[in-house]
């Protein structure tokens, strides 16, 4: 039975994957099917959910359903791009530190420890400050802030494997350092890295939304869910649905990737499988 099928025997993974696929379809096809998320109509502003406007309208009379649908891809991209960035950076740093050890390892890991001294929100905020503001800035900031997390994990994996017999064997057969790192050590240590990457997607989505909520990411009128929640703060008394819907959307997205992450962890880490 293939690995995918084995993972899919876990109901959590099936539910998570179905939700995630639905979100991907919505984020790709949705913007072509709904009205413009920027179209203002002050005659219908702050209208509660109805048959005409399923999720109601905001303070500019914009259709919230259209904005939620169009905003889906920002959250998904934030999760995936930031993890790809963090994973790539962390993989390179962690691989070389773990494989070569010595002074290089000490310097790289001290830098990682220093960066880990900053709570992730603060580190991401600091990175946003030195970059040009924009919709992709939080993704890059979140990605950079997760490099030390991945670097530490990859290093630990490489350190535990670098003295293994199979490494000795391929080295005796004449394999170079890069070949050993990328063709032999990496595939053998990929399990925990994949688990961490999948679980990190959810926290990255939350962190990117947090930055937008604080006004450090997507700017109005971009229909980003965190920014929409930030705008909704002013209407908790008169139009509380504005604060409910984007939050539900973020939570569902994070739940979906976390379900897949948990299922992967259960599959790859036998100790947690029966708990």
């Amino acid at each position: 039975m293939s690995t995918f099928r084995k993972i899919m025997r876990n109901p959590s993974a099936v539910v998570g994957l179905c939700i995630l696929l639905l979100l991907v379809v919505v984020s790709i096809a949705g913007p072509f099917l709904v009205e413009s998320p920027y179209e203002q109509n002050t005659a219908v502003k702050l209208m509660p959910p109805s048959a005409e406007h399923w999720f109601g309208t905001d303070d500019f009379g914009r259709d919230v359903f259209s904005r939620i649908v169009t905003g889906a891809h920002y959250s998904l991209l934030a999760g995936f791009i930031s993890v790809i960035l963090g994973l790539t950076g962390g993989l390179l740093l962690g691989a070389f530190a773990g494989f070569y050890g010595g002074l290089l390892d000490q310097i790289l890991m001290t830098v990682c420890d220093i960066l880990l001294a900053f709570p992730s929100v603060l580190l991401a905020m600091a990175i946003v400050m030195v970059m040009e503001p924009g919709i992709y800035t939080p993704m890059v900031a979140v990605g950079i802030s997760s490099i030390p997390v991945f670097a530490r994990l990859v290093r630990a994996q490489f350190m535990s494997l670098r003295e293994s017999c199979f490494v000795e064997a391929v080295r005796s057969a004449g394999a170079g350092d890069l070949r050993i790192i990328f063709r032999h050590l990496l595939p053998n240590s990929i399990g925990p890295i994949i688990i961490q990457a999948t679980l990190r997607i959810g926290s990255s989505i939350l962190l990117a939304a947090t930055l937008s909520f604080l006004g450090l990411g997507a700017q109005p009128p971009t229909p980003e869910w965190g920014a929409m929640l930030s705008a909704a703060r002013n209407y908790v008394w008169t139009a509380s649905y504005l604060a409910l819907i984007p939050g539900i959307a973020i939570t569902i997205t994070v739940v979906a990737v976390n379900l897949i992450g948990d299922a992967l962890r259960d599959y790859l880490d036998p100790r947690t499988r029966n708990m």
Binding site: D113, F118, P119, M125, T251
Partner: protein, 306 residues
């Protein structure tokens, strides 16, 4: 143990110096001329030059760094660009609010997280376990600022039970502490459950059961004491999550702490306060990590001998 403590303290000092260096570089990496921005659009070139000289921004970076680190050792974090007050004084005035909120939130998190985790482990596979773990799963997947808005809508707007802004009276602590504490409680509950299940499967628990020890004593005396080690660690690490989360929670609830101060300073480009605030929170997080490591080593001798 002493050797371990000294090693950890030296490591913490290195991290603190590194964090201070990062904070220094951060201020210099931000695009734009600080002196020009502060002098305002009406200022002449001469005014800008004078300001640059007064702020020692015309000095080489190395010299500025030495001066910055020297000042830092004396507790001098510079002056606010906007109000010209010492940053340390401003942060000192906000510090109690941040610390009080962190402590209250951690109390909420531990009081909820640990019993829920134990309950789920004891009732493993039953409805109670499933409900508790679904709640914990939602807790870790939910944005804290959304939870804050939900609590405000339910308890301030709909019922008018608790205030939703400011820091006046005990009731003002309830919603911010719940916002921060519930997310952390979810993490603690998940870890406590896993840790308890691992311990409950050990031979010595089976032996205790075989000897006829009451199940209450097995859980609270034999199992919990051993399951507590990773839980203590996660509580320490979650303090960092709390400090980071405070930036958002303090902003939503207009809580007069360091987190909100950083966000306000970011909006007004008062970068000296941003730098100082980030550094203080990072230093707090590092010291809490040190304490966690030491407590961990105290609880588990294998750590200090490894």
């Amino acid at each position: 143990m002493l050797k371990y403590i000294i090693k950890k303290i030296i490591f913490t000092c290195i991290v603190l110096v590194g964090a201070a260096t990062c904070a220094f570089l951060l201020l210099h990496a931000i695009p734009g001329d600080t002196a020009e921005a502060l002098a305002g659009p009406q200022a002449t070139v001469e005014d800008v030059d004078n300001l640059r000289r007064a702020m020692e921004l015309d000095q080489p970076l190395g010299k500025q760094y030495i001066s910055y680190m020297g000042n830092l050792l004396h507790g001098d974090l510079g002056y606010s660009y906007r109000t010209n007050k010492p940053v340390m004084d401003i942060l000192k005035s906000a510090w109690p609010a941040t610390l009080q909120l962190a402590v209250c939130s951690m109390i909420v998190a531990v009081l909820l997280g640990v019993p829920i985790g134990i309950f789920a482990a004891i009732h493993r596979g039953k409805a109670g376990d499933t409900i508790a773990m679904i709640a914990a799963f939602l807790g870790v997947s939910m944005p804290s600022f959304w939870l804050a808005l939900l609590l405000i809508i339910e308890f301030s707007v709909n019922h008018n039970w608790f205030p939703f802004y400011g820091r006046e009276g005990i009731s003002s602590f309830v919603l911010p502490s719940l916002t921060l504490g519930l997310g952390v409680a979810a993490n603690i509950a998940r870890l406590t459950r896993t840790s308890m299940l691992e311990v409950l499967g050990q031979d010595y628990i089976r032996t205790a059961k075989g000897k006829g020890v009451k199940s209450g004593k097995i859980i609270w005396v034999h199992a919990l004491r051993n399951a507590a080690v990773p839980v203590v660690t996660i509580i320490g690490l979650q303090f960092g999550v709390l400090l980071g989360g405070q930036v958002v929670t303090e902003t939503v609830f207009s809580w007069p702490g360091i987190g909100r101060m950083i966000v306000d300073a970011l909006n007004t480009r008062d970068l000296q306060i941003v730098q100082g605030g980030i550094l203080i929170l990072a230093a707090t997080f590092t010291i809490i990590n040190l304490i966690t490591d030491l407590v961990y080593a105290l609880l588990d001798p294998r750590i200090r001998y490894s």
